[in-house]
Subunit: 463 residues, 2 copies
C-alpha cells in the first residue's frame, strides 16, 4: 500500500455498505482523481470547478449512460486524505456501482486496499496513528460509551496526552544527553531530584492510562458478565427478562439489530456481554452446591458476576458456603458481585429480606414476573462503575496502545532505578529513549510497514 502512495496512484472503492439501497458513494483519491472522473463524466468540466462543490451529470461508457450521479469535489489539501478526492453519489444498485468502478479502473484508477484512504490521510499528516485507529473503532462502535471513547480518540484527546508525555521525556532526555557531551568535565546539568519527580509524574499519568484499559476495553467489547447459579435458579428467564425489552428497543429504528443480540444488552448506552455458561451442567452423581463450581473459570474472566439463587430452595448457610467458594475467583479479576434472590413471587418479600439480612449486596427479583428488573439493570450499571466515564475522559481501549504504554512504563521504571543507583547518564538516556519509542508507536511518530499493514488491513475497503 505504501508503495502505491509513493507511485502517486489514484485509488477507487465503494465507500458505502454493499447491497441495495437508495444511493451508494464511490470514492476516488489521488493526484488524478478529478481527471479520471472527468473522462467518464458528461456535465460541467470538473477540472474548472472549485473545491467543495457538487455537480450533477451522467457517468458514460462511450454511448452508454451508466447512471445519473452527483459528483462531490474536494481538492488537495482540504480533503479527508489530503489528496484530490471525488465522491460519486450514484443509485444504490450493486450492478451500477460495480460497472462504474470497473469503468474508473479502465480509465486509470486502482482498486483501493482496505483502509487505504485513511492510510493516505495518516501519511499526508491529516491524522495521527491513534486517530486513524479511532476511525475504525468509531465505525464499529455500537453503544454510546464505545462511541464516546472512539470519538474522543479520533478528535485527538488521547494523542494530546501522549504528546505531552513525549515532550516532557524529550526535554528530560536532551538534558541528560547534554551532560554526555560534557562528560569529561563531570558536570550535572540535570538536577537528579527534579528528574526523579519528572519521571514519577510521567509514570503517574501512564499508570492512569494503563489502568483505564480494563474499563476502556470492556466498554469497547462489552462489559463481560457471568450469571452463575443452578439451572433451575432461573438463569434463562432472567436473561430473557433483561433482553426482551432491549429487543423491543432495538427494533424501534431499523438497522440497529446486531447478529449476537442474544447475549448482549445495552443499558443506557453501555453494552453488557453475557459470557456463555451454557456448558455448565450438574454432574449426574453429585449435586453441586449452587452449580457454580464449573463456573469458576468463567468468573475469572468477568467484570461483573451475578450469583442467581432460588430463594425458595437456598438457605443462607448454603449461600455463605458458595460465596466462600467463588471468592478467590472473584478476586482474581477484581470482579464485582451481585447476589440475586429470584422467585420472590413465590415467597413473602419481608420474610425473604429477613432470612437473607446478612447479605449486603442482595437483590430480590422475580424473573418470571419481571419484578425489579429495571432496578437490577441500574445496579448492573452502577456496579460496573460506569459513572466514572465522563465527557472527554481518556480511556485506553486499544490493546496495541495498552502494550506500548506498559512497555513505556517499564522503561521508565528502569530509568528510575538507574537514577536511584547513581548509574551514568548514557544508560538512563537509553531507557528514556526506549520509553519515547513506545509512545511514538502509539501516535505513529515511529512506524513500520508491518505495523501499518496490521492496523489498516483490518479496515473495510472504501475507508
Amino acid at each position: 500500500m505504501i508503495s502505491s502512495i509513493a507511485e502517486k496512484t489514484t485509488i477507487v472503492a465503494l465507500s458505502t455498505p454493499q447491497g441495495v439501497g437508495a444511493i451508494g458513494v464511490i470514492r476516488l483519491s489521488g493526484e488524478k482523481a478529478i481527471e479520471i472522473t472527468q473522462k467518464v463524466f458528461k456535465g460541467k468540466n470538473l477540472l474548472n470547478q472549485a473545491s467543495h462543490t457538487l455537480h450533477f451529470g451522467k457517468i458514460v461508457d462511450g454511448d452508454t449512460v451508466l447512471d445519473e450521479v452527483v459528483i462531490a469535489l474536494f481538492k488537495t489539501p482540504t480533503s479527508y486524505t489530503g489528496e484530490n478526492t471525488v465522491e460519486i453519489s450514484c443509485h444504490g444498485s450493486p450492478y451500477i456501482q460495480k460497472s462504474i468502478i470497473e469503468l474508473l479502473i479502465k480509465n486509470g484508477a486502482t482498486a483501493a486496499q482496505p483502509g487505504e484512504f485513511t492510510l493516505r490521510a495518516f501519511i499526508n499528516g491529516k491524522l495521527d496513528l491513534s486517530q486513524a485507529e479511532a476511525v475504525g473503532d468509531l465505525i464499529a462502535s455500537n453503544s454510546a460509551s464505545a462511541h464516546k471513547i472512539a470519538m474522543n480518540q479520533m478528535r485527538g484527546g488521547f494523542s494530546q496526552e501522549i504528546n505531552n508525555l513525549r515532550e516532557e521525556l524529550i526535554h528530560f532526555a536532551s538534558m541528560i544527553e547534554l551532560e554526555l557531551d560534557f562528560s569529561e568535565e563531570d558536570v550535572e546539568f540535570a538536577n537528579r531530584d527534579q528528574l526523579r519527580d519528572l519521571i514519577l509524574n510521567v509514570k503517574k499519568v501512564l499508570a492512569r492510562l494503563i489502568d483505564s484499559f480494563q474499563l476502556g476495553n470492556a466498554i469497547k467489547e462489552g462489559i463481560p458478565v457471568v450469571i452463575a447459579g443452578k439451572p433451575n435458579a432461573g438463569k434463562s428467564t432472567l436473561l430473557n427478562a433483561l433482553l426482551n425489552e432491549e429487543r423491543a428497543l432495538v427494533t424501534e429504528i431499523e438497522g440497529t439489530t446486531r447478529d449476537t443480540i442474544e447475549d448482549e444488552i445495552n443499558i443506557k448506552g453501555t453494552i453488557f456481554r453475557f459470557i456463555d455458561t451454557a456448558g455448565i451442567r450438574q454432574t449426574d452423581d453429585k449435586v453441586e452446591a449452587l452449580g457454580v463450581k464449573r463456573t469458576l473459570e468463567k468468573i475469572e474472566t468477568a467484570a461483573v458476576v451475578m450469583l442467581l439463587v432460588d430463594l425458595n430452595t437456598t438457605s443462607p448457610s448454603l449461600l455463605h458456603e458458595t460465596l466462600d467458594e467463588i471468592k478467590p475467583s472473584l478476586e482474581k479479576n477484581n470482579a464485582k458481585l451481585l447476589i440475586i434472590g429470584n422467585k420472590v413471587d413465590l415467597k413473602n418479600l419481608a420474610d425473604a429480606k429477613k432470612q437473607f439480612e446478612d447479605f449486603e449486596n442482595i437483590h430480590f427479583i422475580s424473573a418470571k414476573e419481571k419484578w425489579n428488573i429495571e432496578e437490577l439493570k441500574e445496579s448492573l450499571l452502577e456496579t460496573a462503575q460506569l459513572h466514572i466515564l465522563k465527557e472527554d475522559q481518556t480511556l485506553v481501549s486499544n490493546t496495541r496502545h495498552w502494550e506500548a504504554l506498559t512497555k513505556a512504563d517499564e522503561a521508565l521504571t528502569k530509568a528510575l532505578d538507574g537514577l536511584n543507583s547513581g548509574i551514568t547518564g548514557d544508560f538512563i538516556a537509553m531507557d528514556i529513549r526506549a520509553s519515547l519509542h513506545q509512545l511514538g508507536l502509539i501516535t505513529g511518530e515511529i512506524t513500520t510497514d508491518d505495523l501499518l499493514g496490521n492496523i489498516f488491513g483490518k479496515f473495510c475497503i472504501g475507508k
Copy 2:
C-alpha cells in the same frame, strides 16, 4: 405520505444501505431541511451558503459530538426532490447513523416513508410516474439489459412515446368534441377516414409496446429457461458447466454475488433464469420417452426450452416423437427450442451429425468435457432474440404499464368499431377519453393516493 407533503414537513432517512461501512449518507428534504441541520451542526452557518456546496463540521447533541461529517447542500428547486435537501456524510456506523437521525427528528424532522423522496420529486414535477418507477427498477437492476431498460425509462424515453400518443389522441378527441358543440347543425369537423388512420396508427404503436412486454419483463426478471430431458441426459452437469464460469466471474468484484446464483446465469449482460424441474422424476413402473412428460407444464412458462438428449441412447425417431409431444406446450407461450445432443465425447462427431441431420436446431456438446459450452451460450442469447434490444429502444417491463397499455388499446378498438358502425361522436369521444385515461395513469397525469401508495410503498426507505 401525500398529506405530509401538503403539511410541508421535512423528512429524514438513511439513504445508503444498512450496515457497517466506511461512510453512510443521511438525507433530509423539505422547506426546513437546512434550518434543522443547522440546529445540530457546528461549523459554518449553513443558512448563508450557496446551493451545491460541501461543508465540513460536527454534528453535536448539546456538548456531545456525535460525529465529524461533510454536509452537502442542495437548494430548491435544483435538488432531486425539488425541495431544500441536505445530505449528511457521516461515518458508516449504524449506531452513529441512528443517533444522528434521532437527533434530527428531535429537532423537527419526520422519519421518511419508503420512497417518499422520489414521491416528492414526482409531486414537484422533477420526474413523471414512469420515470419514478424506473428509479426503483434501476436500483434493482442486476444485468446490463435490465439496467438499459430502466435507464432509458428513467431518462424519459418511454414517457415521451406515451406523451406523443396522448397528444395525438387529445387532438382527435377535441375535434370530435367540437362536433358535439355544433351537433344541432350536423357538421363533421373531423374527417372520418383521417380519424380511422390516426387510431390505427396509435394502435400500431401500442401493439409494439404491448408486444415488447414479454421481452422487457423477461429481461427484468431473467429470461425463463427450461432444460428438459431424462435425468441421465446430463442436466445438472450442463447446468454446472453453464454456471461455473459465471461463478468465477461474479467473484471478481466483491458484492455482486446474488442469493439465487445457483439457477441464474448472466450471458453478456442478460440474465437467464433456469426454472426448477427438480421435481420431475421418472415413474417407477414406466419409462417416459425422454422424461419430458411432466415437464410440459414448465415448458408453457418458458421463453427458451433446451431439450437435452444423450446422443448415445437416443434414436432420431425417439427424438421426433418427443418433439411432437412437446410442440403444443412450446407453441402455447411461443417458446424457442434448442435441441442439445450431449455426451458427444463418447461418440464420433461426424457420425452424430449424420445420424441427426434431420434436425435443424441441434447442438452437439459434451457437458462433462465442457465442449461447445460457449457456442451454446451464444445460441441461447440469439435464440432469446436479444439482438433486437438496441440502445434507446423502448421495452415495457412493468406489469402496471402493460395493463394500462392493453386497456388503452381495448378502448381504441371500441372507438374504431364505433367509427366503422357510424356511431355518434359522443360515444366515440368517451372511448377516446377512456384510452387517454389509461395512458395518463402510466406517466402520472392521472393519479390516485392508492396508486401512489402502491408504487412508492415498494421503494426502500431513503429513496
